[in-house]
Amino acid sequence: MQLCKTSAFAVLTVVTLCLSTTVDSDIDNVSDEEDASRYLSGLSPVLLPAVDPLSSSHTLSAVVAQDLEINQTCRNLATIFHDRYIAYADCLVKSARPVGVCLNCFEGYALLSEIYANISNDKDGPGNCRDSLLRSDRLMLIYLLYGNLQNIWRNSACEHCVNTEQQAVKNQTLYFMNERNQSISCFDQYKQENHSDLCVKCKSKYESLNVLYGGMEKNGSLCIDIEDAMNVTRRLWSKNYNCIAPREGMIPVIAVSCFMLFLPIIFYLSSYLHSEQKKLKLIHPKRAKSNNSLMNIQDKFS
């Protein structure tokens, strides 16, 4: 099912891309400078870097290609993309374990997707940055790179924890994290002592956390951060502190099972002993014993 949905989405994406390429518009009277400044004004938090990463390459081909293909606006956009990409990837790697990719890096992702959207929407501009940056070669590196990060974001299900429009963590997520921290601090408080003591003391906190998690699971508001936090807590609880419920009432279970398994034996024995069998009569079919006895009814009658 999941696979189907994903593939359906992929198809949809391709279709949209194709459509957007075919649509041409004639409103591109804006000059390069205006264009660039329009973009730059939209990107307030990041300052323009001193060194342009594309122009800093020293190979011959790059030097030749530079003037042919990439105009200044696009180069600026690419620079911004570069910086933000690095920032976001950096954040991701740093929050890999324990997982914090949603809560720590959602701002980085928002910025990255913003600049990517800008690039991919720039099809009417003088340089047509979308075409020159995203699809002028076979590799389509920027597209690929962004796609990978987008996949990571999607797989982590971060939209469930972060409100993307308001650029803020959802209240429910904060509440959960708070609860979870309380459990952990409770564990920390008692972990020096006897573990069974910890199990009793922190039980209520842990169980309410479990209930909360269960509720969130049902209404589908889990992201990887929450899942991982809960997994770690559960592992601590069951494996490290060994607070799992003991097997109780094994004897009644065994007794009932034995009784159940014993029933068929009684059944088969009693039906074996008490069942009556009907007698059966052999029929001697009419057969020709020898040629002499061959006589049919017609012969008899006649």
Partner: protein, 739 residues
């Protein structure tokens, strides 16, 4: 000849055979209340007249209506499959939910024995409903129905096998037994359901509901009906496995005894319609109309095309022998169990009790296995299980044994094929294989409607996967992933039990949707069959034998050429004169000790054969009082037509229900118009294999044996042929017996 065996002939009103206690416990018991179907067309004068009247256009319409009927068969079969699937999903979902909630409630407190009882009671309750309707209302709807359909298509008239009531009981029974957690599948019964649909639709009326739509009247004959029933069986397979080609081949190889080329194309049409209908309606049910991803009741999921290495193809052949051995063991155990059931558990109430006990024990065994299992798997939020049960696993994990039981068996098979390596603990798989094997063996043959396909696949997939996990002990870089070995194991086990060859291969290829696996699957089925046949027959053949059906196999038993028609035939023969006294006919027909169905018609002085007339025809004639004297007195009287015979078909009234007054007994009846004027005859010296071939190729019911001056000497029927079979002591003859 070795005379330790008995053919028990039909005696009306008894549905289950009981046997005389005999020292010869090794005997293959055969049971028969069966009469036979008339697959040979009676070319009497009425028939010729009708053919003359029929225009060219009429024949064209007939051909088109055959296609329409096949389309309808496919459509209705697909709908039934869809209905069964949805009902089973709803009921099992409800049951799993209740049981799971209950177990979760009692896990910490320690009242799990209550959950166990709840589970057992729920299972027994479902199965009780299923068993009661089968045992008390329609015993023929029990089991998978494949042996019964096979016999029907062979020409044996199994009472009530293709009636509407049977269909209803079958469908309800399957839903109950699958929802009741028995180790059964819903695929086998689909074949029977399809056959009943075909037999019903093609007649254009329902005798049970007393509705006649006045359509398809031409098809009210055994021959036509047989062809449609073949189509129905194919449509059933097609809906069950999403395998239209496999369905046609199943019908050709396993079910039908008679076949022609035109039929293949029409049956293929029925199959296609059936799988498409199921697919479409399931997609509507799953709220994705148009996303046709459920071609069958069972879906193996998609395997990657990369079989990886030639070594895989070679190693999987090794899956055959264990499959064959386990299959033979399964069949042997089931054979003994069935004999026990026939002898001692023949009362309906006992059968219901037995089914309930099996259901309760199945629940108990499942529960014990879950309870003592330590196989825990971490929860996966994205592709989660439907009913994960934690029990004594650590938090954040679930009991992987419980998922196996809390899933519909089809889903479990799919999981065994596709779950990534490491999902199953070898011990879990081992224990599961053993318990499931015995439970499945115990369950097949209960008085519930249920198939054996899915349990076989599940057992095989489990041990196949186990082998797949074990193989990397030899650290070579050649092993494929364990899911593929699960597929091979499933094929081997199923092949070892049912012993189908071509059709099963194609069904499996179609179910996996991957031609690349054709060769491995074929090899494994071949070896499984060879190994299995060495020990024991296939499950369906065993059950046909145990029901004592006079089944005419495709070949005469070997070493039987020395037997001639003279030894095989019944003699003396009861014949009628061409113009016969009504009293004589009534007396002969009412004679319960003979109960003949076909009578040679002779002209006296000298008594030469001139035709053959059937009991059913005589009864229609008596009912309409077609007497010579009456015809003379009432000239305006309507002439009897072929339609009158068709209207009485297939439930001809018994002779007792026809009243013939004392005066009428003295009347005469002229059979000339109604008898088949050119019955097949053989001379007395014809060998048994020759006679056999005639029966098998032409679908004969009666074969008259004549001497050189065309006088009737004897009559060969199917019962005479089915008596002979090759046993351990050479050619053996079975004796007829009656309860």
């Amino acid at each position: 000849t070795h005379q330790c065996k008995y053919v028990i002939s039909w005696s009306i009103g008894i549905t289950k055979p009981t046997y005389r206690n005999t020292k010869c416990s090794q005997c293959d018991w055969i049971f028969a209340l069966y009469t036979f179907l008339d697959y040979d067309n009676s070319e009497n004068q009425l028939f010729l007249e009708e053919e003359r009247r029929m225009s060219y256009l009429g024949f064209r319409c007939l051909e088109i209506s055959r296609w329409v009927v096949c389309g309808l068969i496919g459509f209705l079969t697909g709908l039934i499959a869809c209905f069964i699937d949805i009902m089973v999903e709803q009921l099992t979902g409800l049951k799993y939910y209740v049981v799971k909630e209950n177990i979760e409630k009692f896990t910490a407190g320690g009242g799990l024995s209550i959950s166990l009882i709840l589970w057992a009671v729920l299972n027994s309750a479902f199965v009780m409903v299923g068993a009661i309707i089968v045992a008390f209302f329609e015993p023929i709807a029990g089991g998978s129905g494949i042996p019964q359909i096979k016999c029907y298509l062979n020409g044996v008239k199994i009472p009530r096998v293709v009636r509407l009531k049977t269909l209803l009981v079958k469908v309800a029974g399957v839903i109950c037994s699958v929802a009741g957690g028995l180790v059964v599948g819903k695929e086998g019964p689909m074949i029977h359901s399809g056959a009943v649909v075909a037999a019903g639709v093609s007649q254009g009326r329902s005798t049970s509901l007393k509705r006649d739509f006045k359509i398809f009247e031409y098809f009210r004959r055994d021959t036509e009906k047989r062809d449609f029933v073949s189509a129905g069986a194919a449509a059933g397979v097609s809906a069950a496995f999403g395998a239209p080609v496999g369905g046609v081949l199943f019908s050709l190889e396993e079910a039908a005894s008679y076949w022609n080329q035109m039929l293949t194309w029409r049956i293929f049409f029925a199959s296609m319609i059936s799988t498409f209908t199921l697919n479409f309606f399931l997609s509507v049910y799953n709220k994705n109309p148009g996303e046709l991803s459920n071609p069958g009741l069972i879906n193996f999921g998609s395997f990657d095309r990369n079989v990886r290495s030639f070594v895989f193809v070679l190693t999987c052949e090794c899956g055959g022998p264990p499959g064959g051995l386990l299959g033979a063991l399964f069949n042997a155990l089931n054979y003994w169990l069935t004999i026990f059931r026939i002898r001692y558990i023949h009362r309906p109430c006992l059968q219901v009790m037995e089914a309930m006990l099996v259901a309760a024990v199945t629940a108990t065994v499942s529960f014990i296995m879950i309870y003592f299992s330590n196989a825990c798997q971490p929860l996966d939020v994205v592709q989660g299980e439907d009913y994960p049960l934690q029990l004594y696993c650590d938090d954040g994990e679930y009991n992987s044994m419980a998922t196996t039981f809390f899933n519909r068996p089809e889903k479990s098979v799919q999981n065994l094929f596709h779950n990534p390596p490491g999902s199953y603990h070898p011990l879990t798989l081992g224990v599961f294989t053993i318990t499931y094997f015995f439970l499945a063996c115990w369950t097949y043959g209960l008085a519930v409607s249920a198939g054996v396909f899915i349990p076989s696949l599940l057992i095989g997939a489990a041990w196949g996967r186990l082998i797949g996990i074990m193989l990397p002990v030899f650290p070579l870089q050649i092993w494929a992933d364990p899911g593929k070995y699960a597929l091979i194991g499933a094929a081997a086990q199923l092949g070892g039990i049912v012993r189908m060859t071509l059709s099963l291969t194609v069904i499996l290829i179609e179910a996996t949707g991957n031609v690349t696996y054709g060769l491995p699957l074929m090899l494994v089925l071949m070896t499984a069959k060879i190994v299995g046949d060495y020990f024991e027959e296939g499950l369906y053949d065993i059950h046909i034998k145990l029901q004592s059906v006079p089944f005419v196999h495709s070949e005469a038993p070997p070493t039987s050429h020395w037997l001639t028609a003279r030894e095989v035939m019944s003699s003396p023969v009861t014949s009628f004169n061409r113009v016969e006294r009504v009293g004589t006919i009534v007396d002969l027909l009412s004679n319960t000790s003979t109960n003949h169905n076909g009578f040679p018609v002779v002209v006296s002085n000298p008594a030469k054969l001139c035709g053959l007339i059937l009991r059913s025809q005589l009864i229609v004639l008596l009912k309409h009082k077609v007497f010579v004297e009456l015809a003379r007195s009432k000239l305006t009287r309507r002439k009897l037509q072929l339609k009158d015979f068709r209207d009485a078909y297939p439930r001809f009234p018994p002779i007792q229900s026809i009243h013939v007054s004392q005066d009428e007994r003295e009347c005469m009846m002229d059979l000339t118009e109604f008898m088949n004027p050119t019955p097949y005859t053989v001379p007395q010296e014809t060998s048994l294999p020759r006679v056999y071939k005639l029966f098998r190729a032409l679908g004969l019911r009666h074969l008259v044996v004549v001497d050189d001056s065309n006088r009737v000497v004897g009559l060969v029927t199917r019962k005479d042929l089915a008596r002979y079979h090759l046993g351990k002591h050479g050619l053996e003859e079975l004796q007829l017996a009656q309860t």
